[in-house]
Amino acid sequence: MGIQEQYRKEAAELLSSGEVKLVIGYGEGSTAERRRPVFVRSAEYVSRLVLDGSCVANLSSYLVPEGLLSDGKKVAVFLKPDGIRSINILAAESQLDPEQVVILGFDIEGGQAAPLPGRKASDFTALIGSLKSAGLSPELQKDADRLEQMSASERFGYWKEQFSKCIKCYACRQVCPMCYCRRCIVDVNQPQWINTSSHTLGNFEWNIIRAFHLAGRCVSCGGCDRSCPVNIPLRLINHRMAKEALDTFGHYAGESAEQQPVLATFRQEDPETFIL
């Protein structure tokens, strides 16, 4: 049995036994290559679920808004390791109870979806540990190095050009599982902290604030980068922040549901090189 059949069967069992009220997975999209999030509430519809190498989106972002989990019932979600890490962060930040999330885990290897054993976020701790030791993506590091080699003013020019494209559609925020604030700081208007205007300053404010708020929390799922309709390489910002958190504090976001947020904790041995 292929992974798709296997997971459809599991989804059907979870739904018909009443263990979960909903399965969030992938379905066919508007073109042959596209996959889209689908929501299955009854075993008779599990054939709508698709699982293959094109299923890249991190679906964990659907768990938090609009009180989905407030009834205490369980929901099953198709998740890659990045999505499982998001569950850990959401749990650590008290946004959900990981016991309510049944994970249908998989990863993409050589363009194919392969199952990952486990059902609960805590079952994947060893796997995430091994990902941490493997380090951050070498491909991203190559692009990041290109930026590091620039002079500060060249780099500033690069980001100025990139951010000038931003239209403040907030797709990056809306798609991100870590951007769950009920009212994002840019939407707070009494007082208006951040310019809503999409001019160079407003775009800088937005993108930099988001980068800081994601520092040590981003799981590099790439959702924001894929969603940005004007092709701003948001992955490079996230990568830079993840690298900083890892190199400086040994912090790899979403290792476990007990992990303390890196920017909200202090350890005696924390390097303080930035304090004059």
């Binding site: 239209i167 559609c169 809306q174 798609v175 309709p229």
Partner: protein
């Protein structure tokens, strides 16, 4: 006899227009994004794409537009209106759907009072459209009563020639005819065959859709929840849309001085309808998605006699979760009745 512009003469043509005082904007790819921007020569243009990622709308209805500068002094308040400069502009290589988008928005910006910011830019701009010779899976102009070569909103339409030598030049308005005067010696007078336009399949029956939307009972239909379940509530579809035109007025500065701006806003955002009291009449994504569809294919038509969609398909093409108008209208038009 028809008139022809050869590829090899395009730069001469642009030169003549520039000498006549025009700025030329065309689709260009810069920093990994295709959009209309000022060009000096033909080599900078990306004309072989289905359409640029961003629409020409942003050159008429700016994503952020300064309206007035204000300063509150001891005895008086000083204001200065920031009127857009009058610039003669040519938009070269526009797609028919984007050109139609401007035409669709004209009545909106002119019905109760004339929005100077829109019309000062409109009146001095000439739209030179190139009929499509390719389409992708998301194009849907034929579903909204347009076509890959419809002249709606175009001052001049260029039809690519079958032999690839250039374009057949057809003016559609007085402004278009006037634009051809300074280049008349550059155009050839000969018969030529235009390349065929692509077949764009019809994806929904817009009359069915309109009838269903006009039925008051359907306002509360379960369909709105079903089709919008995966909507994440970002504004990319509205901001990339050639006809979406909502805006917000914001004062930027402090109590004593600043700039009042007109910024793009989107009905997809939860904040869009949030009242000061905290009450939000559109408090779920499904009500917001319903508004978008209703506005485009029911309310706008009721007011201005035209649907607010020109079929470019960007809402689906660039949606992070593969939604868009096409799918919803397809569902509606296929409902059993």
């Amino acid at each position: 006899m028809t008139r022809i512009l050869l590829n090899s003469r395009l730069d001469d043509c642009l030169g003549a227009w520039r000498s006549a005082g025009f700025t030329v904007l065309a689709p260009v790819k810069r920093s990994d994004l295709t959009r209309f921007d000022e060009v000096q020569g033909a080599s900078e243009m990306s004309l072989d794409i289905v359409m640029p990622e961003r629409t020409i709308k942003e050159h008429f209805f700016l994503q952020t537009e300064p309206l007035i500068r204000y300063e509150i002094k001891k005895q008086q308040i000083e204001t200065e209106e920031m009127v857009p400069p009058e610039r003669k502009r040519i938009f070269f290589g526009v797609r028919p759907c984007d050109a139609a988008g401007l035409d669709i928005d004209d009545p909106l910006f002119g019905w109760d009072y004339k929005d100077d910011y829109w019309f000062r830019r409109r009146e001095k701009s000439v739209i030179v459209t190139i009929a499509c010779t390719s389409a992708d899976d998301f194009c849907m102009c034929t579903s909204v009563g347009l076509a890959p070569d419809s002249p709606k909103g175009s001052d001049v339409m260029l039809h690519p020639l079958l032999d690839g030598r250039g374009w057949l030049v057809v003016p559609h308005t007085d402004r278009g005819k006037a634009l051809l005067e300074p280049v008349s010696s550059i155009l050839l007078e000969e018969a030529a065959e235009p390349a065929p336009v692509p077949a764009v399949p019809v994806k929904f029956d817009v009359n069915n859709v309109m009838a269903w939307l006009a039925e008051p009972a359907n306002f509360e239909s379960q369909l709105w929840k079903e089709v919008s379940q995966r909507c994440i509530g970002c504004g990319s579809c509205t901001y990339l849309c050639p006809t979406c035109h909502c805006f917000d007025i914001q004062d930027e500065g402090d109590t004593y001085s600043g700039i009042r701006r007109k910024n793009w806003d989107s009905c997809s955002f939860a904040m869009f309808t949030m009242h000061t009291s905290g009450h939000n009449p559109r408090n779920t994504q499904s009500t917001r998605w319903r508004q978008r569809i209703m506005h485009k294919f029911n309310y706008y038509r009721g007011k201005f006699g035209v649907n607010s969609c020109s079929g470019c398909g960007r809402c689906t093409r660039q949606c992070p979760v593969d939604m868009g108008i096409t799918e919803t209208l397809h569902e509606i038009s296929n409902l059993p009745r």
